[in-house]
């Protein structure tokens, strides 16, 4: 039973091999067998999760030589992530089978898709450092082939070049972290390392390793200012975007969650994660407001959501970060795949007439109501068990709910609308408290609790609450100021993502005239 989860990536590896054998147009056998493999992977993931329900988390023996080989770590984190990735993998494969019908290289596409999925699964299941690093790199390389599915598209090459630098840096950082951990703990077994770290076995090497892990995670999760590539990879068929935004991008967050015990050895690192993540979250979500193209807007949303997930990691709320990864992946996979409906959605929004804009009074009332709601629901779920970090995070989220209430409390809003938005607000609050309680319960034996905050942590918590609260207020009163001429310049700079991308392009000669690229030559060989 130790190797049960391993059947999931194996099934997809087989399909990948088949895909490379029949790389061409309308590969019917391949499409059928790839979907069967994806369904089988879901079944293996479900079986593994069920098995875990009755057994303690464990790591399988290592298949291989010495420290090099494959071993399976099965715990709540890997089980949840495996279920997520197999499910999203099935959705994406099924979608691609129809969507790419008639493409000359559909077989190869499915092959690379399966290989990417298998790599992600091997990463999630990694019980040892070597496997972790190898599958991390394999994920990145096979994804790159998908991003360059149309190798002669200039913009695809530009994005790939931009992704290349952070991706290779992340690979290097992760390899460095792995070496440092292995040197210090004299093992490559991840579970052993984690329990040693949790017992307090730290020092310069593990702290440096933690820093490298954080660097790798931030680069992988497109944190500011290395986010540029993520917002420019719409040059490849939509299912790749879905897979990227719902699967691969999570590798960074997964890394931090997997090594939570090691990360906690370095409190300063946590502070950096809070700052970088918090800034990226606010920045990304503001840029998103200005984006008129649906996929681009979704990509900026991912930047923001990954920032928020980093913030949660920085606050030591690893179970919530895991919840965020799962919830965001499901939402984003659907949003990308359904992005063709944007024309209809915009038209629908326009039909019921003008939007009721809340004024300052309504916004004030909405925030008070939201805080009252927080107190009420919070008491029902029990505040006393929660860490200050969790309470602060709840407050940040409730600021969001206030926006919902504010729309219903606007002077021009009819009663019926007020009632409906209030209902939505209550349902939302209850739902996320319940989901958070569930996430904490599910991972209680695997993930460490948030550390008791010291002065630095308190300062950061307060800073985070204030800045998110500020943005929330600003956003609730949005139409009252956003069209003021003074905001016009800000809008231009924001919509360009503060030019981080343009600078990267300049450094990497992104706008150089097209010449036969490496990617093109590779694909021809």
């Amino acid at each position: 039973m130790d190797f049960l989860p391993l059947w999931a990536p194996s099934a997809l590896l087989l399909s990948a091999a088949l895909g490379f054998c029949i790389p061409g147009r309308r590969p019917r056998t391949l499409l059928k067998s790839a979907e069967v493999a994806a369904l089988a992977a879901i079944a293996f993931a479900s079986l593994s999760a069920t098995w875990l329900g009755f057994h303690a988390p464990s790591t399988s023996p290592l298949l291989g030589f010495g420290s090099f080989g494959i071993s399976v770590r099965l715990d709540a984190v890997s089980a949840v992530m495996l279920l997520l990735v197999t499910f999203v993998g099935w959705v994406v494969l099924r979608y691609s089978a129809t969507y790419l019908d008639g493409e000359g290289r559909q077989g190869a596409f499915v092959g690379w898709l399966c290989l990417t999925l298998a790599s992600v699964m091997l990463l999630i299941l990694a019980g040892n450092l070597v496997q972790l690093v190898a599958s991390w790199i394999a994920t990145s390389l096979s994804l790159n082939r998908l991003l360059l599915f149309y190798p002669d598209r200039m913009a695809a090459q530009r994005a790939a070049r931009k992704k290349f630098v952070p991706a290779r840096t992340a690979d290097t950082a992760l390899s460095g972290a792995a070496i440092l951990l292995a040197l210090h703990y004299h093992t490559t077994d991840i579970a052993t390392i984690l329990s040693a770290a949790r017992a307090g076995d730290g020092g310069a090497l593990p702290v440096s390793a933690a820093a490298l892990l954080a660097v790798a995670a931030m680069l992988k999760s497109a944190q500011f200012p290395t986010h540029g590539w993520l917002t420019e990879v719409m040059e490849t068929p939509t299912p790749v975007s879905a897979l990227l935004h719902a699967g691969v991008i999570n590798a960074g967050g997964f890394l931090l969650i997997r090594f939570a015990d090691v990360i906690l050895l370095a409190p300063t690192l946590l502070a950096i994660l809070v700052m970088v993540g918090g800034f990226t979250a606010v920045f990304g979500s503001l840029v998103m407001l200005t984006q008129p193209a649906v996929k681009t807007s979704l990509a900026w949303s991912t930047v923001a959501q990954m920032g928020f997930m980093m913030l949660e990691c920085g606050l030591g709320l690893f179970p919530l970060a895991l919840l965020h990864i799962v919830a965001h992946s499901l939402y984003k996979a659907h949003s990308f795949l359904a992005s063709g409906g944007a024309v209809e959605r915009v038209a629908t929004q326009r039909r019921p007439g003008p939007v009721a804009i809340p004024k300052a009074g309504a916004v004030g009332r909405a925030f008070l109501a939201a805080l009252a709601l927080y107190a009420l629901v919070g008491l029902a779920f029990g505040f006393e068990h929660k860490s200050p970090q969790a309470i602060a995070l709840g407050a940040i989220l409730i600021f969001g709910v206030a926006y919902l209430l504010a729309q219903g409390l606007a002077d021009a809003a009819p009663r019926a609308l007020t009632r409906k938005t209030a209902l939505y607000a209550i349902a939302t609050s209850v739902s996320y408290f319940a989901l958070q309680a569930g996430a904490v319960w599910l991972t209680s034996s695997v993930l460490p609790a948030a550390p008791t905050p010291g002065p630095l942590e308190w300062a950061l918590i307060i800073l985070a609450v204030i800045s998110f609260g500020f943005v929330a207020v600003v956003q609730a009163m949005f139409p009252l100021w956003a069209y003021h001429p003074a905001a016009a310049g800000l809008r231009v700079h924001l919509s360009n993502g503060f030019y981080a991308n343009a600078v990267f392009d300049r450094l990497l000669r992104g706008w150089a005239l097209q010449r036969p690229s490496r990617a093109l030559r590779r694909s021809q060989s």
Binding site: Y95, T98, G341, Y403, A472
Partner: protein, 806 residues
């Protein structure tokens, strides 16, 4: 270098004129929410294909015909015969055509040289600097235009107050990107530009040393480089002009593009001044098609003549016997080629059933408000202005209308919550898991889109009786339906039923402005059921029996299901008729799906079709009008009982009932023109997909709620997506200019062409082919241009010396 006295100043009027001419050369692109097929050569209909070939080669570097290999394949297979080639050759204008058939066939075996556009300053600057300025301009302009034209995607919309030029300047003076890439001082350059578009153009024209002669094709090229953005701006002016106003957006876009050229010219003047002078000389040179372009045009003409040959054969076959007596059911469809298949199937179910073809807005040009909506939708051909305003439901539906609005507004508040800055995090953490269900239902195609089912539409304000009677009479006479009414008469509009498809409206009814046609159909049914109207119609010679019931319907072209809106006019005595009709329509739907499944890749069987319509990943839910090649206005008996394979627009027309040829004039000036737009849109998207097609559906990124980008950003892509004309292995649309066959006296048609110059230009320059059918429905006369007709199968045709030379 700022002033060049040796270049004569171009006065403001000529400059404005040149800019307007360039704007007229660009075809309009409707927003995707109500997209309409547009003739991409709209601005060039006064020229022939070869001349347009020369023009577009210069400004866009594209050909307007297929590659030689495509024709060669058809010549080799015999699809294009020697006679077709010879006919096309001898009828080709000009003296530069190949001398004889053998020379033409030899040319067909060679490759046509790939046309190369003249470089713009951006292209020259790119060569000089190694920086891809053309791509950067497309990206920057696209980034601004996407925000400027956005109708509701971004929560924080771009400011629009100052007009396009002012809005762009406000953005470009803040945007640091061009300077980061390497165009130093661009923001300053923009801030110092004249503060109106006209002034900016004048300054740029002077600094770029443009001569009056160079303006035409250079301006055309700059606007064409902006792709769909210029086309959308052209749509704005089209709409404004139809309403008697004007809109300058497109010339302001031209000014913006000129400012870029000016800035790049000044930046790289030393390297590019000389080549630029040479380019300007070429712009100023008159346009003339090359020998290759002439040959391509002749080959294209030959392929059309080949198709006309088979159509003539089709029409010469004996017509089936007409069943006398009262038909058990009459169904009027839109002329759309998709209805040909369904009509044939329905007549096959019971030969007594009479079907009719008429433009799908059924003569009622409605500005319509849907249920619980403030938006006025123009459900009429885009060539016309609305004559009536209508809305779904009456006063007794108001409470339901209100309730639905509240629901929609609450849902909108939820969407804003989902997208806004801080709340998006709360949204994800609270509701992410719900998407498991959504992913499952969408992946398995469990979500079924129901056909539109608003309350019955009504005129708002109501029409007085005289207007209603007049409308009813005009429409019935135009349909050639004035006697022998069945007990049940269905008026069937059509619409597609697809999910997750940005081009969904392109599958709807073109005659209804890109909306589905059920509203107009239901309106007409209610008009004709009106007892007061019927009483007056009787006095005008149209007697509708009291037991005749009109019912609006919607033909779903994706699944071939037909929805009957029989609740609009409850009539218990017609229960049996409705039941029978439903059964027959279902049988016809099944037969139609069976025929369509053969063409749709992966549909396998008739049953696969419904599944495809619900599949969110399906990029080819139906073929829409792909394959269209003929328009036939004649009584149905001329075409009944034989298959036109969904390639012909069928308009019912009986000239003997059309005493003063008023209906003929209507047909030739409205449905024929709409059909030409459709046919030429397919033509343009097939022969020049890079310029007139929407690109690859797999990369589409919906922008601003109005159109699609291909990939990250850049220019808007109008036209048909590649997947709509190609099944992965072959074209599903054969690019042929439409063959129009009308059964009517030649003199009547000549008279109409004389009165309508625009229509005449389409035929004279062969954007359409016109044939007169004789009294047996045979293709008897071919319109040869210049108001002349030549007989078909002409025995006096010179036996070509050309042919002897083979």
């Amino acid at each position: 270098m700022m002033n060049h006295p040796e270049f004569p100043l171009i006065d403001t009027e000529s400059l404005k004129h040149a800019a307007n001419q360039a704007a007229l050369a660009i075809p309009p692109a409707w927003p995707l929410a109500s997209s309409v097929a547009v003739n991409p050569f709209l601005g060039q209909s006064g020229e022939g294909l070869a001349e347009v070939g020369a023009r577009l080669a210069r400004v866009a570097g594209v050909a307007v015909t297929m590659p030689r290999a495509w024709y060669q394949e058809r010549i080799a297979s015999g699809a294009i015969s020697d006679a077709d080639l010879a006919d096309a050759l001898i009828n080709a204008p000009g003296d530069r055509r190949p001398a004889h058939l053998a020379a033409l066939k030899a040319m067909a075996l060679t490759l046509s040289p790939t046309p190369k556009a003249l470089p713009t300053i951006a292209d020259l600057a790119a060569q000089a600097s190694g920086i891809d300025w053309r791509a950067l301009i497309a990206e920057r302009l696209g980034s601004w235009a996407a925000g400027y034209f956005d109708v509701g995607q971004a929560l924080w919309a771009a400011p629009r107050g100052a007009g396009a030029y002012g809005a762009w300047r406000a953005v470009a003076t803040h945007d640091l990107t061009p300077e980061i890439v390497g165009l130093r001082g661009f923001a300053t350059h923009v801030s110092k530009a004249p503060d109106n578009a006209c002034g900016a153009m004048a300054r740029a024209v002077q600094r770029l040393r443009l001569s009056a002669g160079a303006l035409e094709t250079y301006f055309h090229q700059l606007l064409l480089n902006l792709g769909g953005w210029a086309q959308y701006a052209r749509y704005l002016s089209w709409r404004a002009e139809l309403g008697g106003a004007s809109d300058e957006t497109i010339t302001e876009l031209l000014a913006v593009r000129l400012i870029w050229e000016e800035a790049l010219f000044e930046r790289y003047v030393e390297q590019i001044a000389d080549p630029w002078t040479a380019v300007l000389a070429e712009h100023a040179a008159p346009l003339a098609p090359t020998a290759d372009q002439i040959v391509d045009t002749i080959l294209q003409e030959a392929s059309e003549r080949a198709a006309q040959r088979s159509l003539a054969l089709f029409l010469s076959a004996a017509a089936p016997a007409v069943s006398e007596g009262r038909p058990p059911l009459q169904v009027a469809f839109c002329i759309d080629v998709r209805s040909e298949v369904f009509r044939r199937a329905l007549e096959g179910v019971n030969p007594g059933i009479q079907t009719l073809g008429f433009a799908g807005f059924f003569g009622l040009t409605a500005s319509h408000r849907r249920f619980a909506s403030d938006v006025h939708e123009l459900r009429l051909p885009v060539l016309l202005n609305p004559a009536v305003t209508t809305c779904a439901g009456g006063t007794h539906d108001l409470p339901a209308d209100q309730a639905m609005r509240f629901k929609a507004r609450a849902r909108r508040a939820w969407v804003r919550f989902k997208l806004a800055a801080v709340s998006s995090f709360a949204f994800v953490e609270a509701t992410g898991p719900i998407y498991i269900g959504k992913l499952l239902t969408d992946s398995l195609g469990l979500h079924r889109a129901s056909p539109p089912n608003d309350p019955a539409p009504s005129f708002d304000p109501a029409l007085d009786i005289a207007t209603r009677v007049q409308a009813a009479e005009t429409i019935l006479r135009a349909m050639s339906l004035t006697a022998n009414f069945a007990r049940l008469v269905l008026i069937a509009g059509h619409g597609a039923n697809v999910v997750n498809n940005p081009h969904a409206s392109a599958l709807h009814c073109g005659a209804c402005g890109g909306y589905s046609g059920e509203v107009n159909a239901r309106l007409l049914a209610s008009l004709l059921n009106d007892t007061a109207v019927r009483a007056d119609l009787k006095s005008r010679g149209i007697a509708i029996p009291a037991d005749s019931l009109f019912v609006g319907a919607l033909h779903d072209t994706t699944t071939d299901a037909v929805t009957l809106y029989s609740d609009d006019h409850p009539s218990p005595t017609h229960d049996e008729d409705l039941k029978t009709a439903t059964t027959r329509l279902a049988a016809a739907g099944q037969a139609t799906r069976g025929e369509r499944a053969l063409r749709l890749p992966g549909a396998d069987t008739e049953r696969g079709i419904a599944r495809r319509s619900r599949d969110w990943a399906e990029v080819r839910p139906e073929w829409a009008l792909a394959g269209c090649q003929a328009f036939i206005a004649a009584p149905r008996t001329r075409t009944a009982g034989r298959s036109l394979a969904g390639r012909a627009f069928l308009h019912d027309y009986d000239w003997r009932q059309d005493s003063r040829f008023g209906v003929l004039e209507l047909i030739m000036t409205a449905p024929v023109v709409v059909a030409s737009w459709i046919s030429l849109q397919y033509y343009g998207s097939t022969v020049a997909p890079d310029v007139f097609g929407a690109g690859n559906k797999l990369l589409h990124n919906v922008v601003g709620g109005i159109g699609v980008l291909e990939g990250n950003g850049g220019i808007l892509r109008a036209g048909l997506p590649w997947q709509s004309i190609h099944d992965g292995e072959r074209y599903v649309h054969e690019p042929l200019r439409l063959t129009v066959c009308i059964e009517a006296p030649r003199e009547a048609m000549t008279g109409i062409l004389t009165r309508h110059e625009g229509v005449r230009a389409l035929f004279d320059h062969r954007w359409l082919h016109l044939f007169a059918l004789d009294d047996d429905g045979r293709m008897k006369w071919r319109y040869a241009g210049d108001l002349q007709w030549t007989p078909m199968n002409d025995s006096t045709r010179p036996e070509y010396p050309l042919r002897i030379a083979v």
